[in-house]
Symmetry: D2
Subunit: 356 residues, 4 copies
Amino acid sequence: MIRAGVVGASGLAGGELIRLITQHPDLELTFLGGSSNIGRRPAELHPNLRLDLGLTVQPVTEEVADKVDVLFLATPAPVSAQLAELLADKVPAIVDLSGAFRIRTPELHDRWYPKVKRRTDLADRFVYGVPELIKDQLADAELISLPGCYATSLTLGLAPLTLGLGLHLKTVVVDGKSGSSGGGLHLRTADLHPFRSGAIAPYAPTGHRHAGEVADFLARAKPAGATAGRIDSLTMSAYGVSHVRGLLTSSYVFTDDTVDQRELQRAYTRFYKEHRFVRVRRNTETLIPVPDPQAVLGSNYCDVTVMHDEEGGRIVVLAALDNLIKGAAGQAVQATNLRFHLPEETGLTMHPVMPV
Amino acid sequence: MIRAGVVGASGLAGGELIRLITQHPDLELTFLGGSSNIGRRPAELHPNLRLDLGLTVQPVTEEVADKVDVLFLATPAPVSAQLAELLADKVPAIVDLSGAFRIRTPELHDRWYPKVKRRTDLADRFVYGVPELIKDQLADAELISLPGCYATSLTLGLAPLTLGLGLHLKTVVVDGKSGSSGGGLHLRTADLHPFRSGAIAPYAPTGHRHAGEVADFLARAKPAGATAGRIDSLTMSAYGVSHVRGLLTSSYVFTDDTVDQRELQRAYTRFYKEHRFVRVRRNTETLIPVPDPQAVLGSNYCDVTVMHDEEGGRIVVLAALDNLIKGAAGQAVQATNLRFHLPEETGLTMHPVMPV
Amino acid sequence: MIRAGVVGASGLAGGELIRLITQHPDLELTFLGGSSNIGRRPAELHPNLRLDLGLTVQPVTEEVADKVDVLFLATPAPVSAQLAELLADKVPAIVDLSGAFRIRTPELHDRWYPKVKRRTDLADRFVYGVPELIKDQLADAELISLPGCYATSLTLGLAPLTLGLGLHLKTVVVDGKSGSSGGGLHLRTADLHPFRSGAIAPYAPTGHRHAGEVADFLARAKPAGATAGRIDSLTMSAYGVSHVRGLLTSSYVFTDDTVDQRELQRAYTRFYKEHRFVRVRRNTETLIPVPDPQAVLGSNYCDVTVMHDEEGGRIVVLAALDNLIKGAAGQAVQATNLRFHLPEETGLTMHPVMPV
Amino acid sequence: MIRAGVVGASGLAGGELIRLITQHPDLELTFLGGSSNIGRRPAELHPNLRLDLGLTVQPVTEEVADKVDVLFLATPAPVSAQLAELLADKVPAIVDLSGAFRIRTPELHDRWYPKVKRRTDLADRFVYGVPELIKDQLADAELISLPGCYATSLTLGLAPLTLGLGLHLKTVVVDGKSGSSGGGLHLRTADLHPFRSGAIAPYAPTGHRHAGEVADFLARAKPAGATAGRIDSLTMSAYGVSHVRGLLTSSYVFTDDTVDQRELQRAYTRFYKEHRFVRVRRNTETLIPVPDPQAVLGSNYCDVTVMHDEEGGRIVVLAALDNLIKGAAGQAVQATNLRFHLPEETGLTMHPVMPV
């Protein structure tokens, strides 16, 4: 058994990690860390998880290194930066779910995360990306940084265009729609049920930091055999809509390269042929239009649809995922599986639950 | 009192018309028409409206002309086309809420509404537009066609750019998000609560017919003193999200013309200075991000926000409205007020209800 | 014009009071009070209300007496107790929406509101009750205390049994279901959207304090010509369900007295004949089962249904209202209308808005 | 592998059965039956389940007997009655999720299910009950009828009082609250999202047929060593509230027997000691009040809370479950496990997913 610890055990991603780890055949939960709720059992914090684990939330010290083989950081970026510095080289594998180490270029990092101080040499050692695109790098990786929920959806949606078809995308306009769990559990009036229910909240109409991260990554990434394309401009706006779990990203893509629906469909299907967690679907293949986050809820799937809008002179790419699973805890487990040479899907084979 | 009739009394827009007319100081509801639910009282169809009007739903014949001064058609486009042909020149004013007469150019009409046969000479007589932009044409108009909910939002959002500032918009990418009441009351499995709740449904990812309508109208429209700009390309995608009432349109606008935030803000404020139903707001001016349809729900307001996304090299325009009021019944009453030389806001002064 | 002030202007009931007062033909909003958000305009706190009132939130001092004819206290009970003491005899009319003065008997008050210290002589001067049952007492009343949202619904539901038919109710089991706005805007994790959405939260499974209040009031109340009945036991449990606005109380009533459906229906209809804000409805009279808070939302109505459950040997009484209107701000305006000899419905004639 | 077939594959319970069976280590899905959607693959009907099973929906004939060891009937009661008659003695095990065989007494059956004709001798052979209470009877049972979702919740909530403590319950008043998935996928206007969202729908305020079923069963049931109590009167009212999945039953229990909180708590804990799918919880043991269906969603758990309401002179029992899992498909798999001598929890060990 691989011993796993979770820091940030009180939060939503922390709860999902506990849930997935305790259902995983090869992982054993051996540590719960946090800065609040010290001494509490998971059941008090996560009403769904009435588990008798014999664990309570503890402050994180260097001694955690004796207890875990892999440590998940479901913590705010500044905390992740500190903990990584404390524990790198002590814990065999650190998987960070925050933004602390997502952007390699120091200038870019400082611009998007001005309050997150991190050591550059440490940042350089982190492997970053969605597991589908960096499989080889993950084997035996010591420090892993995972994309955010929007960035995962966006990357999986666009990769077949740039890395698969090698297209030159002149303008990509991204519109992201997310449920309330994407924002975590901050005590803000705007996040109370009366105001968040029924909302279409334009909370980041310009300048969402996932945009830069994705464009940067897609330009750099080049899986074996891939033909990297280019993105000139990628802008993103994000909205909170009235449900809890699941997000959809819409990418409206303008390119001068010529491509038709058949080629697109084929390219996407081929690109994800070996990747069971990405399902390439047609918009009308089922009784509700897809991709809809509803249809992936509770699972590690990302559903992707690509459409050539001939009349509009553009390509429309839609991608949907469960922000707490494929966008956070599930993806972390998936990366961990690859890190420890387990089959990618170990502990992640649950079907989506629908309707909820 | 102006005698008003409503055809399509069983539907959602029909119900709103009944509600608004019976609260209006100068309108008197004298006819309820429909093809189903004949003989039923409004209270049976609209659980909120337990009114003792002495009216039941009746089939529409030419005799309705004796009973009404204005007839609202909250009917499917093919029905509106038939009724307009039957009743034009007989009823002093017909206000059509459907798409039957929205597009003047016959070819364009046939393309978007292939099943809606209408007489071209009749279509030519219809006045079309959001009341804010066609005030003068509405006075004494006999045949009025109103924009759909998305088109209203889009037009009010973009008009200050094209008609106010006279900008040349090269690319406008529109992403529309609407609650379930926008789709009416069709008995489809996808619209049942278990599937529609929690959805982000990409129901019209390409080719929404409001897109053409709006670009066409904005090119044609020229209120007194306006400097008409141009739109080269306007594409639209529409999504159903998990609430009932209210929609938001996001317009991502690319232009080579130079303009900054201050000019934009000033232009929008000036453009809507005399128009009380459009509120120009800053994204962060209140405790929730606006515009959010929540903040206009139950009212005839359209909230508009314009942002210069300097880094993204684009303008972001957001507009929110209550699709059943400013996007349908309220706008119809507003147009009727102008038609009969009443103050525009008569019977429409209710504040939005929030939170709901 | 009657000059009106609102204390607690930042809260949900405060916002509704501002909305209703500024739509009222005979009330003029002249003061906004509070202890937080000092200096802010209503539009900053209530995104729906972009009004230019020239008022900002101010601390409450004795000088408010110069500015208002009626002062609404939409404040926590302890604050209401203090303000009433400060301002009684200075302001012509005080309308308290809190629980501070609802229970007259000191022992009972102390048991349910142990932290709310109040002067007994002051408490004795307060008129308490739903306006429908205490109309005569409201004329010229100086101090008015209004029932809570659940208590209003319960009282209106049960009054025809006890006060109308004079029944002896042996056991009344009450199950109350409310949306999230009933709980106000407290920053608690359980009230954040991710946890409150989709919940059926048994937040007061036993010992809800409205229960005692209602039994106490119904025993005391005796409108002109009423035959007061008796309630031996009234227990209540309250649940938060997954919407924002509106509540339903279900009263399961056991009595040895003999009564059938026809008598019940007749008694309810007769009892509320002169009371336009109570609508007596049959469960299946419309296309959705009623009473459902949906059908009264945005209005001052309370919908009531009574059923003789012959097989179950009981009477089932259901009552639904909008907790922020008939359960709070609307009822306060209704009481104020009666206090100042205006028609009861002045400023409250809006129909419910549905669907939302 | 045990070969399993599902009839009613298009419905919500059918979809859940497909999901659970294809995740079950010892079950193999070998047949999909139905009367509509013939020829369709599961993925077309259940957007979450993009499975390559090589199965399409087929009409049910006697030949199904060659293909399955167990046949799940997720069909309307009249269909279940027909299919049971056709297939009894041919298929080794039939598990019926409908009401066709729930009530043994013919008179009682005819009263609650007047349209469901069934052979009495066949009805007598069915084993009925929640698996927790009829474990021994399930081993090798050929015909199994499972309680409905409300009945399961009610039975598990009350059994420790009657079967455990042997109390004599004079009056049990049940209030049930359910999400929209409890009503299935019928195309009714009242079930469309605009009307069902935000509803508190009193759809069965009196005379819910689960009430009789439960009282009848609890009177008959007597697991080994149990002391059967008595229920004089059990009435039930049911409401649809504004979420999709999960239900809560509240039982307000009046008894002359003496019992206190400590005894109740102990009795419940003891009663369910060996039953992992029932979790006995205190109302305030976690950060949201429990039991709340949220906390069991996606799992086969039923959470139960018992409270002695000393002041009210009653016992309050709350029970929550996922109506499609513990109230339908999960319970069916649980019964099947016991039928085939597998550990009860096989294929059902997933934790609840929260928040959704």
